[in-house]
């Protein structure tokens, strides 16, 4: 991605002369979408009334105008401008997609309401129900953070232990082989009565789901460290503590990060299930609550927030990895 940005930066468009055409096209599409939403009457024959159409028009027109300004003022926008320009085709596609969605739901009624919510339905949820969504998001992030951090920390420690000490390997490895492959969600019924609260049970389950891949990958990372690294350090006078902390762990870090990545994915799955079935808060709870009320727009809205949350957390992890493993030559970009 950075190379694409650099290419764009390398040939700046002549200042103030020609507007950026892809951006201009995107702006036109957004404005056209706004016109469509405004001009065509809503297909109000279902059980739910279509509201917030005007807000949608404002949103579409707003994005269109912003893009139009960006297309003209690109040379003065610096980094933000370059990023916007890079995503211009996607922004155009987004305008078209949104308009199509609006057409088949709100305007023509081709897809039945309320199962397929129109765009303004989601907008309505975000405008009216944002406090509840916000609190749900906060609860989800908090629960996930507790479970993930505990699971990841224990996973790394366990992985190092069995990778380094024979005794630890002897006792922990069979347990890991037996329990590890079991999906953490299988513990759900037991966990909910074994723990004092559904919240602590969920922390346990998320930690379990995270811990298994992190342990395995840390262990395999420690096991695959070049043995000569240890010999080098030993001849230079290193203690065992030094060998573990300054040789084994840094050498295993690439593996550990793969484990952290896999653990994060597993933790998302457990988080949603736990919130749907037991915890009375969070985005998973919001989803099943909305389903109970047949509030389909709310479900789509919550799903979208969830996607943004998961994607952001993965991005955060990759950023961290890129920083820590900057010594590696080639890294997969997220």
């Amino acid at each position: 991605m950075s190379t694409a940005l650099e290419t764009l930066a390398a040939r700046p468009r002549a200042a103030g002369r020609l507007p950026h055409l892809p951006l201009l096209g995107g702006a036109a599409l957004w404005l056209a979408g706004a016109a469509l939403t405004f001009a065509l009457p809503d297909h109000n024959e279902g059980l739910t009334e279509i509201a917030r159409t005007h807000e949608l028009v404002v949103l579409q027109a707003g994005v269109g105008l912003l893009l139009a300004f960006a297309a003209i003022g690109l040379p003065w926008l610096g980094r933000v401008g370059r990023i916007t320009a890079h995503w211009a085709p996607w922004l155009a596609l987004g305008a078209a997609g949104l308009a199509a969605w609006e057409l088949v739901t709100a305007k023509l009624g081709l897809l039945p309401l309320p199962f397929f919510a129109p765009p303004q339905g989601l907008l309505e949820v975000y405008l009216d129900d944002w406090p509840r969504l916000g609190i749900s998001l906060w609860h989800s992030v908090k629960l996930l953070a507790w479970g993930y951090v505990i699971g990841a920390a224990l996973g790394v420690l366990t992985g190092i232990s069995i990778g380094w000490w024979q005794q630890a390997s002897y006792w922990i490895h069979p347990v890991l082989r037996f329990i590890g492959p079991l999906p953490a969600t299988a513990w759900l019924p037991i966990a909910f009565f074994a723990f004092p609260s559904s919240w602590s049970a969920s922390v346990f389950l998320i930690a379990l789901a995270t811990g298994f891949p992190v342990t395995i990958l840390t262990w395999s990372g420690i096991a695959s460290v070049n043995k000569d690294y240890y010999d080098i350090a030993r001849t230079l006078g290193a203690s065992e503590r030094f060998l573990v902390l300054k040789v084994a762990v840094p050498a295993a870090l690439p593996h550990i990060f793969v484990g952290l990545f896999m653990g994060l994915g597993a933790s998302f799955a457990v988080l949603v299930v736990a919130e749907m079935l037991g915890v009375k808060a969070g985005l998973g709870w919001y989803l099943s609550w909305a389903q109970g009320w047949a509030a389909y727009a709310n479900m789509y809205a919550a799903l979208l927030v969830m996607a943004v949350m998961c994607s952001s957390l993965i991005t955060l992890l990759f950023r961290l990895r890129d920083r820590v493993l900057s010594w590696q030559k080639e890294l997969v970009r997220w």
């Binding site: 070049n226 030993r234 203690s239 590696q328």
Partner: protein, 271 residues
């Protein structure tokens, strides 16, 4: 290299502080075997020799004959099945920073910069804070000043091996164990590095034990060449290289010795 070379040619008293007393090494009747597929595989067979303090000894023999095993025993990384290995009369039991091993591969830590790699020994012993200046000195010695913040992946093979040498030298070893340290370098870099190795040894006067299967390299560098037989390694000959430094590769006496060594290795017909 210019600065380092200039310093070696005209050492000032202050810079002579890098000079150490070499270890007197005794290898007494050492035999050693590995377990290979359940059976013992003998690699060393009654090997005895000694190296005087500051001496440069090359161990020459066919590859896989057990020379590297011998170095590991001297480093204290393994223990001989029978026989004794002593440094200045004391048994070698554990690795010690006074005896440092340089491998064929530089085996630098890829996650550490050049500077942090060279600092390794000082850091491991907890004296990095007090002795940090030695890192820059060691890097200057191998001609890599200015590469402190580079990562190993950014270095050529020769540069990486120089860093590995600096990582050893920063500890002021009294015995340097060189396990084919130039074995993987291209022949031109190799010739350059042989000269540099010799200068480093002449400057610091550590005892040097060089494992190699390159006859010319052994003769160009060492004061004595110990020739090993095929596995299990016995000492086939102990040849004194009676040619003063600086040596010249075209020296007829070196050619004569080379013929002699090839004969001992059973490669006479290639002459």
């Amino acid at each position: 290299m210019v600065t380092a070379a200039a310093r070696i040619l005209a050492p000032t008293p202050a810079e002579n502080s890098g000079e150490v007393e070499g270890i007197r090494l005794e290898v007494g009747d050492v035999s050693h075997a590995f377990a290979f597929e359940g059976k013992p595989l003998p690699v060393l067979n009654h090997v005895s020799f000694s190296a005087a303090p500051g001496e440069f000894v090359a161990l020459l023999g066919p590859s896989g004959c057990g020379k590297s095993t011998l170095l590991r025993l001297v480093a204290g990384l393994d223990h001989p099945n029978t026989g004794r290995v002593t440094a200045d009369g004391a048994d070698i039991g554990t690795p010690d920073p006074s005896r440092i091993l340089v491998f064929q591969d530089p085996t630098l830590y890829p996650w550490r910069t050049v500077e942090a790699n060279v600092s390794l020994g000082l850091e491991a012993r907890g004296i990095l804070k007090a002795e940090r200046h030695r890192v820059a000195q060691a890097l200057a010695l191998v001609g890599l000043s200015g590469f402190e913040s580079a990562y190993p992946r950014q270095l050529s093979g020769g540069m990486a091996q120089r860093v590995a040498l600096a990582r050893a030298l920063v500890n002021e070893p009294r015995l340097l164990l060189l396990d084919e340290p130039l074995g993987k370098l291209d022949s031109l870099t190799r010739i350059t590095m042989q000269g540099e190795l010799l200068k480093l040894w002449q400057r610091a006067r550590f005892t040097a034990l060089l494992v190699t299967h390159d006859v010319e390299e052994a003769l160009f560098l060492a004061e004595r060449v110990i020739v090993f037989s095929d596995r299990p390694a016995r000492i086939a000959a102990d040849v004194k290289v009676d040619v003063p430094y600086p040596r010249h590769r075209g020296d007829p006496r070196l050619a004569e010795l080379r013929h002699h060594l090839l004969h001992l290795l059973g490669l006479d017909e290639t002459w």
